[in-house]
Subunit: 397 residues, 2 copies
């Protein structure tokens, strides 16, 4: 008999997907270039040319049996060493290859991390607003995602609310800085305070509480700010990374779990990831992709377009009277809607071919998310549509 | 706190891996070319040249944002259509793209299939000897793998034993034909009889019992025999395929689940796979690999070396007095050891640098597996070692 659990999940349609599908349908009516589609976080800049070259070289020069052969159980050793060396050089933490588990993107990295440090019945705390997929990611492990309400308007952490929900059942805290959907970075002060509380609670409860740091946007930081690195603030940190955004390779599914060497039981966690893989059917990212990414480890795509787009959108939204936290990075912005019901607001925007995603499923109602990984020329045209939208629908703003 | 479940699993080391690691260590002492390593099923023939060309063309001609961009949730539509058309053309079943779920290899395909058709507490029946990884694959879903003892000497199905274990709890039957480790094909008669029993039991229990058919060796068939296709025999069949062996791409992690269109609830199962993916962190095979494989869908590597190796080994083992079922396909052979304790037998073989894997973990003690995906020249040298081994250790044979 087919599984009731997974059949029932077919009913719960993703709001992001619904708006994205509308954008596609509308595009087939009026031309997709005329749809201001801010729904999906799909990188709009190409992978570095060097990546393409490296792939071509591998295909030309490597023995196909080795190039396309099985990776070792815990991943390609060259990739693991290159990642460890890069993190060590950049962030000053003494990673070795034994602390790196290659995973097919951040989703897979998180799937392994959750299973390594929790058991069914445990709780994993996250801070609203969140990427909605965190819910199924955690729920299918048997643990429970507990959400701390958003800290408005700074989008840091509401520590009073956090202290209400942390308990003996807390296995981990899941953070995402800079954040999808807000684009906001947790400040050093926020991370220090979080670490202090967790260190205290670990002693009180007599067990570790891990930070699982979801970092796909780590390299997309604006205004010349320092690239953040959570593991510097807290020993028991598992850093989950993806090259999807930094190298514009989301379909190639490559990332990693990096286990802080100072983490409790650090030596077990990567081998445990290998055991998790057996049950969930994950066996490393594609071999050729591991080898190619290892050769461009410290490169990124030209990410400057995201900052350019952010500035255009932020300035216009402020001018139009929106309350909007200024993003520190990512390619998202998270303004407050002009009415309490963000779904109604986003539906009205559709009349102007503006595809905005209401924030309810991000755990923070009344806002909307724009993914501005689109051409700057389109951004500029969309801002004219925004002016019309606000003037016509919210004339008193 | 780290997971006790996954930490404890670190103790249960794979016997195959242990022998493979010994082969590597021994290789560094005497040169790997002198170690007759029959431990691992890693293809020894290259991917077709056409595959390399296709990859190079994609890198040269495609827009990198599209080439490396996210696949749709249920996988690349071209890949899905090409697979469906190929299966339809070859096996006469009316698959459409909606019946195909791209998965990162057979392990991922099985992980999705198990979760779609069972729930914790259910039972999944398999027939010894089995690929040992079936145990963790099934156990981590919460279902239980139930093993029917081997049917000796024909390695078909012992239906009397099967009827003892099938029950209302049976969600699926997991088969693998041709089989790792035996290389034996289930005959048409076996599959018909299995289907008859399942059809009868479905009625009796009032729920479906699926066949999950693990088919990574489907294209490696000897003696000009017909390529087998299990779904032709039974409607409620999920076919789990991998291109690892047919195209020699095991590290690139690409395969699929094909849902028989006549299967109960066929329209739900692929979308349900998409829901399973969210929780286990699987998001399609690498984009470029899906696109490339779609262009070589009906090709295989030159697989003839496996048949050549099988004939050499089979003839010599028979000559030396082994009881050995003649493989119909795969690159495995599964002879009976020359003493009851297959572990002791395989340890003695190490003295002759013969790396054979004892069968205990395959659920069928007293045998050993040889993976003859190695150079034919090395096979020939190994047979001389085999002669010495048997003459010295089992002089009365």
């Amino acid at each position: 008999m087919i599984s009731k659990l997974f059949k029932d999940m077919l009913q719960g349609k993703s709001v992001i997907r619904e708006f994205a599908e509308y954008a596609q349908r509308r595009g087939s009516e009026i031309g997709y270039e005329n749809v201001f589609d801010y729904s999906l976080g799909n990188p709009s800049v190409p992978a570095p040319e060097k990546f393409t070259q490296v792939m071509e070289d591998l295909l030309k020069n490597e023995n196909p049996c080795a190039l396309h052969g099985y990776s070792p159980t815990l991943g390609n050793n060259v990739f693991r060493k290159v990642v460890a060396d890069s993190l060590k050089r950049r962030f000053g933490i003494a990673y070795g290859p034994e602390h790196i588990f290659p995973a097919s993107g951040a989703a897979a990295a998180l799937a392994h991390a959750f299973r390594c440090i929790s058991k069914p019945g445990d709780e994993i705390i996250a801070f609203a607003p969140i990427f909605p997929e965190y819910q199924p990611y955690v729920n299918q492990t048997g643990a429970k995602l507990v959400l701390v309400p958003a800290s408005i308007p700074d989008f840091q952490i509401d520590f009073a609310e956090f202290e209400k929900v942390i308990s003996e059942k807390t296995a981990a805290v899941l953070i995402n800085t800079p954040s999808n959907p807000s684009g906001i970075l947790f400040s050093d002060d926020t991370l220090k305070k979080l670490a202090d509380i967790l260190n205290k609670k670990q002693k009180e409860y007599g067990h570790e509480i891990f930070i699982i740091s979801d970092e796909p946007y780590r390299e997309i930081i604006f205004d010349g700010k320092e690239i953040p690195y959570v593991a510097k603030f807290y020993d028991n940190t598992l850093s989950c990374y993806s090259f999807s955004k930094s190298l514009s390779l989301p379909g190639e599914r490559i990332g990693y779990v990096a286990v802080n060497p100072s983490c409790k039981d650090a030596e077990y966690i990567v081998p445990m990831c290998g055991q998790v893989s057996r049950g969930i059917g994950h066996n490393c990212p594609a071999s050729i992709i591991q080898l190619a990414v290892a050769k461009v480890i410290d490169m990124t795509s030209d990410l400057s377009v995201y900052e350019e787009n952010m500035n255009l959108i932020y300035d216009k939204l402020v001018e139009l009277g929106f309350e909007v936290p200024r993003p520190d990075g990512t390619f998202y912005i998270f303004p407050k809607a002009l009415e309490d019901d963000a779904v109604a607001f986003c539906k009205k925007a559709l009349k102007y071919d503006l595809i905005l995603v209401p924030s309810d499923s991000f755990g923070c109602p009344g806002y909307f998310r724009m993914a501005y990984c689109i051409d700057t020329e389109k951004v500029k045209r969309s801002l004219i549509a925004f002016e019309k939208f606000v003037a016509a629908e919210y004339p008193n703003k």
